[in-house]
């Protein structure tokens, strides 16, 4: 339920802020005729709906999104330029007397709304409104949430329009500039990602880095925007209408009424913003968080390069998670679980990763073991067998009540795990001490990764690994 409101807010709050603040920064006589703004919003809604229908019909979500992102980016850039012109009070006046700046409002509104609507649809498209076509509680609740979110945004826009005027053109223009710069930054990352996915531009490391860096800001955009709204309320409060002293009673009552109206708008906007922030925070910080894995106990190999875990310790039917740091610094998680009950002890020994879903891990929920990424319930007795979404089996032996896992099997499983920690390693050629994450060269041999301090030792090792590994091998056989 909160998901839909949050998705709407993430997609549409920047659009709402840009449109409203833009109209607030126009000089008072330039105030657009309402029909212009309304027409722009309606046109935007129409274009957005058409784009969604087209995207559904031709399964071209990426193309549609990228197209609108480009349009949004260009419009935002133009808005920023016009804002600069506006601030310098270069009023471009047409012959009829209306400035060109006001003429720009409907275009801006149309593009922003279309892009926001499409983004909102794109974010929710894979999140079914309900599980069946028959009217049910979920369907009604979710539809209500969408209507409520839209109404909340409309109220926010109305109140912000009033409050921004109270705060004055200067603060409104400053806020608009910040919102625009933020939207441009996020938009450029999104546009580039879209173009990359559509093969319109080549894939390079710099471009991927750029997209990745900007995607970090994206979730915070709506919070920054709403924070700016709160700041504007503060400015409006500082510049509030003061009643002052007057002898005239009629004048005094009029002034009280004016101050009261202003304070109602401010409080209303503060309330709407706070409500939206609360819903967003609830969704982002609590409701959408994946379940966290239980703590993994760190394990180290003993002198025989083995890990020994007594069955007594893991037979209680709970999931016992352990972690081992491989020679290359991979944090290899594995877990042990009793497949049956305490009367029939049969321990499954598996990696905490799945061939299909990767290293998202498994959690225990009551009596069930669940794969976190795909939400599949495991059939407990089958844990330890390969196939489907089962955890990858970990080779092991049982020696008088103890599970024995060879460190070499864990080393082999390191490729299933992406979590890397820095470990101290030794260059097998020079004997130099290195940090795994910073070593310039590495090479895999016999299921182990070796690190090298320079190219020279790297090449020497590659030419004849056995010459340098004999020491290690002998120890393994011994």
């Amino acid at each position: 339920m909160a998901f839909y409101i949050a998705a709407l807010a993430h997609a549409l709050v920047p659009a709402v802020l840009i449109i409203v603040l833009w109209t607030a920064t126009l000089p008072a006589p330039d105030k657009p005729r309402r029909s212009g703004l309304a027409r722009g919003v309606c046109a935007g809604a129409l274009v957005g709906a058409l784009a969604i229908l087209l995207a559904i019909a031709r399964t071209a979500e990426t193309a549609g999104n990228t197209g609108l992102q480009v349009a949004g980016f260009v419009t935002n850039a133009a808005t920023l330029m016009l804002l600069a012109l506006n601030v310098r009070s270069l009023r471009l006046v047409e012959e009829t007397g209306t400035p060109i700046l006001a003429r720009f409002t409907p275009i801006l509104a149309a593009v922003e709304i279309a892009q926001g609507l499409f983004a909102a649809w794109n974010a929710t498209v894979n999140h079914g409104l309900s599980a069946t076509d028959v009217v049910n509680t979920d369907l009604i609740v979710n539809c209500t949430a969408i209507l409520f979110g839209a109404a909340l945004l409309a109220i926010l826009a109305l109140q912000l329009a009033k409050v921004a005027r109270m705060a004055g053109r200067g603060p409104a223009a400053t806020a608009l500039a910040v919102v625009l710069v933020l939207a441009l930054a996020v938009g450029s990352g999104q546009t580039m990602l879209g173009l990359l996915r559509l093969d319109q531009i080549g894939v390079t490391a710099e471009r991927i880095t750029y997209v990745a860096r900007l995607s970090v800001i994206e979730p915070w955009q709506v919070y920054i925007d709403l924070g700016l709204t709160l700041l504007l309320i503060l400015v409006a409060f500082r510049r509030r209408f003061r009643i002052g002293v007057t002898e005239d009673r009629i004048e005094r009552r009029l002034r009280i009424a004016r101050a009261l109206t202003q304070s109602r708008w401010r409080r209303g906007l503060a309330g709407a913003t706070a409500l939206l922030l609360a819903i967003l925070a609830f969704q982002d910080l609590y409701a959408s968080r994946p379940p966290t894995l239980s703590e993994a106990i760190g394990m180290q190999a003993d002198g025989k390069d083995e890990i020994r875990i007594p069955i007594e310790r893991v037979k209680d039917g709970n999931l016992h998670r352990f972690a081992y740091i491989s020679s290359a610094g991979h944090r290899v998680r594995f877990f042990l679980i009793n497949r049956y009950d305490e009367a029939h002890i049969d321990i499954g020994v598996v990696f905490d990763a799945c061939m299909v879903c990767g290293d998202g891990g498994y959690i225990q929920h009551g009596d069930e073991v669940i794969c976190v990424p795909c939400n599949v319930r495991m059939f407990r007795p089958s844990i330890g067998k390969s196939g489907g979404c089962n955890p990858i089996p970990l080779p092991h032996t049982v020696e008088d009540g103890t599970i024995v896992i060879a460190a070499s099997s864990l080393e082999k499983g390191a490729r299933h795990f992406t979590e890397v920690v820095d470990v101290e390693v030794t260059d097998p050629v020079t004997g130099q001490k290195l940090t795994s994450g910073k070593a310039p060269f590495q090479h895999e041999a016999g299921g182990r990764t070796y690190f090298f301090g320079d190219k020279d030792s790297y090449d020497k090792f590659r030419a004849d690994p056995d010459a340098y590994l004999r020491g290690g091998k002998q120890r393994e056989h011994g």
Binding site: T59, N126, G128, S130, A131, T132, D133, V134, V135, N136, T137, D138, L139, I140, V141, V356, E368, C374, N375, V376, R377, M378, F379, S382, K385, G387, G388, C389, N390
Partner: protein
């Protein structure tokens, strides 16, 4: 001030308001009934679709369409196509093999139970109770109804799967025959008196709440021996751990061909009940594996078909109620024209006068809606019993939705009268020219 005026004016023209509330209540009754039915079934269906366990029934392809009339299967191909018992391990060899919790094969045959000289036609079903089914990956795999149908209750002991002389007698049948656990029963294959006869020990009395209560359930091997069909089975019930259905799963239900290759991969590699059924069909040739959606196939099928009708009927009821309210409100406005004129003359803004009338309308709508919900609750129970033979669980969501619809109905009805308020000129009405 507005509240006080509202309170005073609310008791003006009580008869008309009672009439308006009654109109709304009638419409609300109808909507509550239809809505409660629809939402109850919809919620049950949604619950079924979002559960984490499902059953799949595997049958021979030609046997896929049962032709049940009055409990007797009239499908002419019945008894000709069978599945092979030795194919069972193949099901545990599909991609999602580990999600398959259990397999229960079935073979049903008509038989005659003879006790104290009386003969009774019954159905004998062979199945696994707790059968050892060695798999290449697991030599000790055991499966059967004891694991899959945990709600089956046995008074006595479960039969041994290897025996050919132990049986469970359904509780209703046991009552009719007057037998108890520990007794014996003579079963003759077929419905005539010429079939081979065998005497079985009644290991226990079975209660399931289903059709098994009226029959005899025996180990599969015994049923095969009785029917003279060694190694043959009619159907397999597969119990699987699945993930809830979503849009992709629903799209795939129209046939995996409808999916793009990327979607197909995703669907195939997700433990939807549909993809597991598809994989079973892949390994067992000429079979049809269908998820068993109990609600969706029963009540859901009815509601899905008539949902549009429900919507149209509800819309018609709302429109009728709104028109009725509109007429009543119009009279009120004309009757109270002088009062409105006075308010206008005293400087009341049009929206303040509107607020008065709309406020009244909302209260009338709420009262009507509340009465309608109470009446609709009762009607829904009646309809539920007569259509689905079960009461209807009226979901809490019905209350706000029906109240909202009632208020909207009344508001829609007061649009036209409100325009009449705006058109009134204080001078005219106070002079009494209109």
């Amino acid at each position: 001030m507005v509240l006080r005026m509202l309170w005073r004016s609310f008791f003006e023209g009580r008869r008309r308001k009672i009439l308006a509330a009654a109109t709304v209540a009638l419409a609300a009754t109808l909507i509550t009934t239809l809505f409660a039915l629809s939402v109850d079934v919809g919620d049950k269906m949604a619950k079924e679709m979002t559960s984490y366990g499902s059953n799949i029934r595997v049958t021979p392809k030609a046997d896929a369409m049962p032709l049940l009339i009055g409990g007797v299967d009239y499908n002419p191909l019945k008894g000709r196509d069978y599945l092979n018992e030795r194919d069972l391990p193949k099901i545990k060899d599909i991609f999602w093999r580990n999600n398959i919790v259990g397999l229960v094969p079935r073979l049903a045959l008509p038989a005659t139970a003879e006790i104290d000289g009386t003969a009774l036609r019954i159905s004998v079903t062979g199945t696994y109770f707790d059968h050892l089914l060695p798999l290449p990956s697991d030599e000790g795999y055991r499966t059967g109804v004891r694991d899959i149908n945990r709600f089956w209750q046995v008074e006595g002991t479960w039969p041994d799967d290897a025996s050919e002389s132990q049986a469970l007698v359904g509780s209703r049948l046991a009552a009719r025959l007057g037998v108890v656990a520990g007794g014996t029963l003579r079963l003759r294959t077929g419905d005539g008196a010429d079939g081979p006869l065998r005497t079985v020990a009644i290991a226990g009395i079975l209660t399931t709440g289903g059709e098994e209560d009226d029959g005899v359930t025996v180990p599969l091997a015994m049923a095969q021996a009785m029917a003279g069909l060694p190694g043959r089975i009619q159907s397999i019930d597969v119990s699987a751990l699945t993930v809830p259905e979503n849009d992709l799963a629903r799209k795939a239900r129209r046939g995996p061909e409808a999916l793009s290759s990327e979607e197909y991969d995703k669907w195939y590699c997700t433990a939807y009940v549909g993809s597991i059924a598809h994989q079973i069909e892949e390994v067992l040739a000429d079979t049809s594996a269908r998820p068993i959606w109990q609600v969706a196939a029963g009540e859901g099928a009815v509601i899905t078909r008539i949902q549009m009708l429900l919507l149209v009927v509800s819309a018609a009821a709302i429109a009728a109620a709104a028109m009725c309210v509109s007429a009543l409100m119009n009279t009120t406005v004309l009757e109270r024209a002088r009062e409105i004129g006075l308010m206008k003359a005293l400087g009341a803004a049009p929206w303040e006068i509107h607020l008065l009338f709309v406020g009244e309308a909302v209260i009338v709508g709420l009262i009507g809606g509340a009465l309608g919900i109470l009446a609709g609750y009762a009607v829904a129970q009646g309809v539920g019993w007569s259509v689905f033979q079960s009461g209807v669980d009226v979901r809490p969501i019905t209350v706000p939705v029906v109240l909202a619809i009632s208020v909207i109905t009344v508001l829609a009805g007061s649009i036209l009268p409100s325009r009449a308020i705006a058109a009134l000129l204080p001078v005219e009405v106070l002079h009494g020219r209109r």
